[in-house]
Amino acid sequence: MKASLKWLKEFVDFSLTPKEIADTLTMAGLEVEGMEEFEDDTILEINVTPNRADCLSIKGVAREISAILGLPLKEPSIPVFEKEREHLTVEIKEPQLCRRYAGRIIRDVKIAPPPQWLSRHLELHGIRSLNNIVDITNYVLLEMGQPLHAFDMDKLRGSHIVIKKAHPVNKFLTLDNEERILSKDMLLIWDRDVPIAIAGVMGGLNTEVTSSTVNILLESAYFHPISIRRTSRALNLSTESSYRFERGTDIEGIMLALNRATQMILEIAGGDVTATADNYLEPFEPLPISIKFKKINDILGIDIEPSLIEELLRRLGFEVRREGEGIVVIPPSFRQDIQRDIDVIEEIGRLYGYDKIPPTLPAVRIQPHTEDTKRNLIKTIRNSMRSAGYSEVINYSFLNPSVLDKLRLSPDDPRRNVVKIRNPLKKEEDALRTTLIPAILDNVVLNIRRGERSVRLFELSRVFLPSAQGLPKEPLQMAAVYLKEREPSLWHSRHEGFYDLKGTLENIFLELRIKDYSFLATELQEPYLHPGKSCAIKINNQIVGSLGTLHPAVMEALDIKGDISLFGLDIDRLFLNIPSGLTYTPLPKHPYVERDISIIVSQDTPAGDVRATILSIDSQMIESVNLFDVYTGAPIPEGKKSLAFSIRYRAGDRTLTNFEVNAMHSRIIKALEDSLKAELRT
């Protein structure tokens, strides 16, 4: 809310500079977010928090200044008008929604352009000037925080005002010439049975004050905040009035505002008060709150004199009475936010000054920490990925479901079952992601577009899977992508990026001490991966993710090229498969014997099968089997490849003899010949 310094000074005499007063207000909870200098005035832009409806006016801000600085508040003298020459009645049919409604008829006013000082006041505070009457109502709204409305009395059929809900009317033309669709619970102001205003939000065009208006009906009322807020939201119409009503206005200030406006109208536009009605159904009941001094000091962490507490509260307009080791306070009617002792304590702390509260460190009872294993797991993975050259990215959780088509997901793929956002920021991105893959591929696309030739990225984030009841599931997943440069640089290896990425994964498993993992080409075919260059990642016979080279069709859809490999991993599932303990194995006492074996097999025989066959001969004696060469080309026949393994034999209880090793080696060769049709390469 905007507040002119000059105007504030009409209410409180302070001599602080604009900067000083801004700081003072800010440090008391009315944050001054900006200042605008004019030749003869400064406008403060104050961020009034939703609890401080009482500060949505010049008088309210002035009241704060007077309380903070301990200066008196100057109230302008406002006369009371009591002439009753005609009849005006107000009938409130919804006492819950409207606790007080006052009306006043002023006859023979002269509608004219407002005096220059008035229009300038409004403009400085962001309100458009219209004519003297409307401007006066807005002036009082700014000054006192009480919204007022003026009707053209001659456009009413009588002088009986009714406050009731909209039903059965469902359309209404407001002042701004917009037809508003009403719902039946909205509160309206009626001229007997014709609606003339949407209560607290905006008046009707049918009773607008225009240049030809002569007689007016002035309204000053209290509407229930929730009702006004609902109406304003439903109509998508927020006005200076509704903004204040929905935050709570001062029910006791209604007549004062009405008199203030009357005073100004008679002065500026002339006229004569002929009737006043004030229907006040349920008079304001002040709410006494008692608080002990000890509690005030305990909560704020200070030691403040009772007399100072009392003074601070009195400055804020509270009635204060000492009672034993504490006080009983009665907050003023304009402070509807003060309902409990804690609210009062906040007021004391605020005015005393947060800066005077000494910082302390709490005395605590020691609580044992349990190891956060999941967090440690994530840390380990992050570090492994970084040491393998991968940088972490964070992508939005939003998903445009149509990108799943680009990934070639089938119509019944479970990842197409998404959580939908009702009010997305971008219309297309109306879902929460079920997979991290599209976003990380987008990251690659962006980097390629910006000239990068090699990129390693990973992301660890939750995805969102709808569940039959309750909140969606939010499993933690991981995705990594490697765009390998096509023209190798100095040390660059020439194999496909797939193997680099696979190595990174294996290293993570090593770090996590996961031994029972495998990469299986035959299981789980991800539609976005190259069918011949992809596999499922399995741990303890459970699929935890997939690894592969990006499908050429996906590359085409994304308009990118290159050696792009990626994996997706379900971290929650991985977490469940991490071995818990670690047991020491004594070092072997006897030497190993190493033999190499070189065989020729069909091109499509996986090396993994050969290795498994070798191991199956004697898992006790065969300590390790390492592939050290893969070769195709002359003199190896077409359709065949040569694989060379180095096999280490060792026995736990003795040094193996040549005779034993030779026997085992022959069995291996025999097994490879029998089950894989391998030939020994000589």
């Binding site: 440090m27 008391a28 909870g29 944050e31 939703p50 905040p225 929730i226 929905e246 305990d298 909560i299 704020l300 200070i302 804690i342 609210d343 304590i345 702390g349 947060y354 800066d355 509260i357 910082p359 302390t360 460190l361 709490p362 005395a363 605590v364 009872r365 609580q367 920490h369 956060d372 967090r375 970084r386 040491s387 393998a388 050259g389 940088s391 972490e392 990215v393 964070i394 992508n395 939005y396 959780s397 939003f398 959580v419 956002i421 009702r422 009010n423 920021l425 929460l432 962006l446 980097n447 910006r450 990068e452 990225l457 984030s461 939750r462 969102f464 909140l471 969606p472 939010e474 040390w491």
Partner: protein, 338 residues
């Protein structure tokens, strides 16, 4: 016989001294002390001598043998050394070629700052809890004293899934979830993603927060100030000036916003701090007794504080980043600066 031996010695000494490469030395070693070498043959022939004169000849032969072998070894060492130094003169690698390594990947700046903040609070005995990002309206608002139709809801633009389910607008719902399940004392931090329907240079629809709260008997606003000063000094430097000013959050009372003296202009006033000299870093306050009542704690017995901050904002301030959107663009050139 003796002359014979001594002449061998002289001849060998001369030959060894004359030799000018390792190969000659090696052939001389064979010539004199090899299996069929001159000295070896002589030693073998000792057996043919009368017993009496054997020791005398034996001693002399041995001396000569030692002499020759020492000479050979010395020369051999000399030639080996010079051969190595010749080799070392020619063997060369280009040490200026780049090393063969995969450059370390980079931490995301948000996680970097988040980790630092987490470490500060872990050191103060806080522990980490998490909660769902898709959250019930109840936890996100109602239980935090933000009823439906309350203007405080305007403080946050909410993404709705259904009438009762939202994308959490802050990490504060986890306060309620944790307090519902556990009894005080507690010191908890909650890092996580949050969502608000807003996008410009300083707002993204998804961002990160870290929430912290502590509940026990006798926790005061002074304790809140103390803990947050420790935090601000750890993250922004020990000289950082911190200020607390009153504010409003429905779930804390008294509420505060915390500013630090602008890091760019050191409080003199600049564009970043809008000439105020201060930049806001977080919101905090004493937990509202209404929240305690929701979770069944006795507000007369327990007090507590809570605070929440935006990681993006802290990171932007710390590193002078002026556009929040770069965090989520994943441009390699951005990521590799951290």
């Amino acid at each position: 016989m003796i002359e014979d031996i001594l002449s061998i010695k002289d001849l060998a000494g001369e030959e060894i001294k004359k030799a000018n490469d390792l190969k000659t030395i090696q052939s001389l070693r064979i010539k004199y002390s090899g299996k069929k070498g001159i000295l070896t043959t002589k030693i073998k022939s000792l057996a043919l001598l009368p017993k009496k004169s054997r020791p005398q000849y034996g001693r002399i032969l041995n001396e000569v043998k030692n002499y020759i072998e020492t000479l050979l070894t010395e020369q051999e060492r000399f030639f080996r050394n010079s051969e190595l130094s010749d080799l070392l003169k020619t063997e060369r690698i280009d040490v200026t070629l780049p090393g063969n390594f995969i450059p370390y990947g980079h931490q995301h700046p948000l996680n970097m700052v988040l980790d630092k903040i987490i470490d500060v609070f872990l050191s103060l005995g806080f522990r980490i809890e998490e909660g769902p990002e898709v959250e019930l309206d109840y936890y996100n608002f109602e239980a935090l004293n933000i009823p439906r139709d309350h203007p405080a809801r305007d403080m946050q633009d909410t993404f709705y899934i259904t009438d009762d389910i939202v994308l959490r607008t802050h990490t504060s719902p986890v306060q309620v979830r944790v307090m519902e399940k556990q009894r005080p004392p507690m010191r908890v931090i909650v890092p996580g993603k949050v969502y608000r329907c807003d996008a410009d240079v300083s707002h993204t629809p998804m961002f990160h927060q870290i929430e912290g709260f502590m509940v026990d008997r006798h926790i005061s606003m002074g304790d809140l100030k103390g803990v947050l000063e420790v935090f601000a000094h750890a993250i922004f430097g020990a000289e950082t000036v911190v200020r607390f000013r009153p504010s409003f959050f429905p779930f804390t009372e008294p509420s505060a916003e915390v500013d630090i003296a602008c890091l760019i202009c050191r409080g003199r006033g600049c564009k970043i701090c809008k000439n105020s000299g201060w930049v806001e870093i977080l919101g905090a306050g004493m937990i509202n007794p209404r929240v305690f009542e929701v979770v069944g704690y006795d507000p007369d017995l327990y007090t507590g504080f809570a605070f929440g901050m935006g990681i993006e904002r802290i990171t932007m301030l710390k590193y002078g980043i002026d556009d929040i959107r770069v965090f989520f663009e994943s441009d390699r050139r951005f990521l590799e600066q951290f």
